[in-house]
Symmetry: C2
Subunit: 336 residues, 2 copies
């Protein structure tokens, strides 16, 4: 990523610069702030494929009017354990801000709570919302679909979105444990970055538009991404389609694609967010110390890796070296 | 599976024969019936590795006193959306019988409900309980852990159980859609059957006791099974450990192993069962017809496969040809 043409800016500069860009294209203050915070968090932890890299997509979809920069999400209590959040056709981060209070209240009384987020556009990493919830001592799971990118097991035509699944839980000291993984063997954002960089990909990442395996990221972007883990990963992708779509009354990836304006931004769809309060369920405060037995067992196997370790290392690097900004993105930030 | 030494019995004979065996070793009627029904369902649908094949393990653990054949599970309503089922140290099927009514009532009012099943011994397929719930129009997810069998990503020592995950949802006509998959690339039961049959396994299934990859099922049974899909499958296995263990106040696989008597039966542990009522969440009766758009899209891709298709085909074969019973198992059934 250290391209000599890139400029570096301090991580503290990202949020205010990006917020100003969103205000300039017509977002209101709440929407611009929620989006800028989200992008800054992605950059802070080195999730570059969900950070400034996506700014052109955000801007195109706001300018085309597909995504509303003045979205005012509304929350409805559906049952004692279910809330429904209508994202008002905005980006997801403003919905996350609005749902947080009602979701915390719901899970506090019910022990398990579902936030069915509808009419939203999700364009970022999912770890941001689950980590935020785990910082309250909760266990959180989130998933969303997208436009068709992954075929069913054995298939040749994309039917599932890249369908990320994210999980977070508290740890006794410091940051929550978090993973966030696409159902594709490789995330679409990483394939896009490989295409931009002209890098060929390993076997098993995808099929070309003819349904034949290829190593060329440009062909894979026109064809499909293969699921991780063969038919078992395809089953996970299928489950996510149903949870983030039909279960909450939102679209499947195949339906999202039909109604999408192809402007570079994400389609309108749903997000499934499930939280558990372990204190309510197990009736003591020992979840984190109990789970830690597993994390320590893993740590004692010298070659074993835990998800999220790389992110914490990159956070340190970004704090020291700043964020690399390609010239095209820098032009957008400076236009301000 | 068509070994010339095997006898064949009609599928209708399995449940009464097995029930008689369980009564003979001291189970009460409710426990014997629940177990016999479970084994018969596994055989009916060709899940042979969870059927009669496991009878010696069931019997050994009942005879050793580790598992109670007179278990009387109890249900407690913890919150409006959480029930806790104490399995009274019996096998899981009797808990499933006891929890069904309270779980249906809970999800009917809350839209989402968690059954935290503790103090139970799970030795069967998970599709049996989730399919049963999906037949009521619900979406059901179940998972459980076991004894350490799978290492963390990059690791060499087992820390996760085989950790199956099962999902079911209703379809408009006929049987629910169901998948049930171990977090291992290959289920332990299938590795055991390969060992019995003297068949070598493909690359990627497991490591020997020295932490080195091997194709020998006997070495893998002494070492560890690798997760499906590399580090992403390992993350799924980790999530299952936490949901079916610390979240519900039950043991991790590493803890289950410590307290287990090694008698051939499963250790005592927990099961996580989560159900959603789509009517409550989306407020119409269209979940199944909506989800069907995805299933039809998959069916239209000629090479694509859906989980569960093989099981329905095997159900037909078993109905026609009967169940193959190896001599050792037949001796147990006839002893009666």
């Amino acid at each position: 990523m250290k391209n000599p043409e890139n400029d570096f800016i301090p991580i503290t500069a990202v949020e205010p610069l990006v917020r100003a860009v969103f205000l300039r294209v017509g977002c209101d203050d709440a929407n611009a702030s929620a989006l800028a915070r989200n992008i800054a968090l992605a950059e802070r932890d080195g999730s570059h494929s969900h950070g400034l890299f996506r700014l052109p997509g955000y801007l195109a979809s706001l300018k085309s009017g597909k995504v509303r920069g003045h979205a005012r999400p509304s929350v409805e209590q559906v049952t004692s354990a279910v809330i429904r959040v209508d994202g008002d056709c905005g980006y997801a981060p403003i919905s996350h801000d609005v749902l947080e209070g009602p979701l915390l209240a719901t899970v506090h009384s019910s022990g398990v709570a579902l936030a069915a987020v509808v009419n939203t556009h999700h364009f970022s990493a999912l770890w941001i919302e689950v980590e935020r919830l785990a910082q309250f001592g909760l266990i959180a799971i989130a998933c969303t679909s997208y436009k068709p990118a992954i075929p069913a097991a054995g298939g040749r035509r994309p039917v599932f979105g890249t369908n990320p699944l994210s999980f977070a839980c508290p740890r006794p000291n410091g940051s929550p444990f978090v993973f966030d993984q696409a159902s594709a063997m490789m995330a679409r954002g990483d394939v896009m970055r490989a295409a931009d960089a002209g890098i060929m990909l390993p076997d098993g990442v995808g099929l070309g538009p003819d349904g034949v395996p290829t190593n060329d990221p440009n062909l894979i972007l026109k064809g499909c991404l293969l699921p991780f883990g063969g038919y078992k990963g395809a089953a996970i992708a299928l489950m996510i389609e149903l949870l983030a779509g039909p279960l909450i009354g939102e679209v499947l990836s195949v339906e999202a694609a039909v109604r999408d304006q192809v402007d570079g931004g994400p389609p309108r769809g749903g997000e499934f967010i499930l939280v558990f309060d372990p204190f309510k369920i197990r009736r003591d405060h020992n979840f984190a110390s109990h789970a830690e037995i597993l994390f320590q067992e893993i740590a004692s196997d010298v070659d074993a890796r835990l998800p999220g370790e790389g992110r914490m290392k990159r956070r340190q690097e970004v704090a020291e070296k700043g964020v690399a900004v390609p010239p095209g993105i820098m032009a957008v930030l400076k236009e301000n």
